[in-house]
């Protein structure tokens, strides 16, 4: 396994794991959402680095060009969708965080669970 050829997988995996750590280890709900966003951006980075062709150019038609190598446009299309869906999820998640803060007066997960346990 050549490290030099696979560096983009390693970078993507590292970023993914940092995002995942933030989601599972941090108790603040807003920090969890930031970790989720980092995870999502790293997944997008992975796809885009896989779509790159050496010596290629952006997938926009070059008028009159012969033998032009284009980078693969399909991952770009899929990732456009992913980015927009990601911001939709972030917006609804943050709206829920605002409502949780209004109900519990905190956004820390362990405090919310304590309040729920003492209520029941």
């Amino acid at each position: 396994m050549s490290v030099l050829g696979h560096w983009h997988y390693w970078v993507g995996i590292t970023l993914m794991m940092i995002g995942l750590y933030s989601v599972i280890a941090r108790e603040n709900l807003i920090k969890k959402l930031m970790g989720l966003n980092i995870f999502q951006v790293s997944a997008i980075m992975l796809y885009i680095t896989m779509g790159k062709v050496s010596g290629g150019t952006a997938p926009i038609l070059v008028e009159g060009g012969v033998d032009v190598v284009y980078s693969n446009p399909l991952p770009h299309v899929l990732m456009l969708t992913a980015i927009v869906v990601g911001v939709a999820v972030t917006a609804v998640g943050l709206a829920l965080v605002v409502r949780i803060h209004e109900s519990y007066a905190t956004v820390e997960e362990h405090e919310i669970r304590q309040i729920d346990r003492s209520d029941s």
Partner: protein
């Protein structure tokens, strides 16, 4: 193989991701996240993904930052420290998952390989047929709006649903009161 010049930028990305995870002042984290998105947009451009870079810069560095700052203005802006046990078990989980993923990508195509399977089946069809069937220069728009138009419709409906969801949760903007 020459070392790509983006490597220092990727290292910077990883450092920033670690700092966003560790910093306790959430306002700093939101600002750093905006910079993180902008550097990702630059890296996407150097990977020839110009449409994705445009969208990531506009949405990641623009709208996401506004949403986080809006939330922070309504809630508190500091994070309390996490418990040690949760941190250690999360670290072990993350390291194991990362090792499994690295092992899984060991035999995947190298960076920029033109003979990789993803460049072989559907993509050459789109690159060949778009000038004659659709006739617009931007391949990404042609695939997004025409060849994969149904997926884009679904995505539009997701955005609309999120819009309705946020309106239901937080109100219409006319200084709605809490508890509604």
């Amino acid at each position: 193989m020459t070392i790509p010049f983006e490597l220092p930028l990727f290292a910077f990305l990883i450092v920033m991701a670690v700092v966003i995870t560790r910093v306790r002042d959430l306002l700093e984290a939101a600002m750093l996240f905006g910079i993180f998105s902008l550097i990702c947009a630059g890296l996407f451009t150097s990977m020839d993904a110009v449409d994705v870079a445009f969208t990531e810069a506009a949405i990641g560095a623009g709208v996401s930052t506004i949403l986080f700052l809006g939330t922070l203005s309504l809630t508190g802006a500091r994070e309390k420290p996490a418990s040690r046990r949760a941190t250690v078990s999360a670290l072990v989980t993350v390291l194991l998952t990362g090792a499994a993923l690295v092992y899984g990508t060991a035999d995947m195509p190298t960076f920029g390989d033109a003979s990789a399977p993803i460049h072989q089946h559907v993509a050459p069809y789109y690159l060949e047929k778009t000038p004659e069937e659709i006739g617009i220069p931007n391949y990404v728009t042609a695939i997004l709006a025409s060849y994969r138009g149904y997926d884009t419709y679904g995505e539009l409906c997701v955005i609309f649903t999120a819009c309705v969801g946020v309106m239901t949760l937080l109100g219409h903007g006319l200084r709605s009161t809490e508890g509604t």
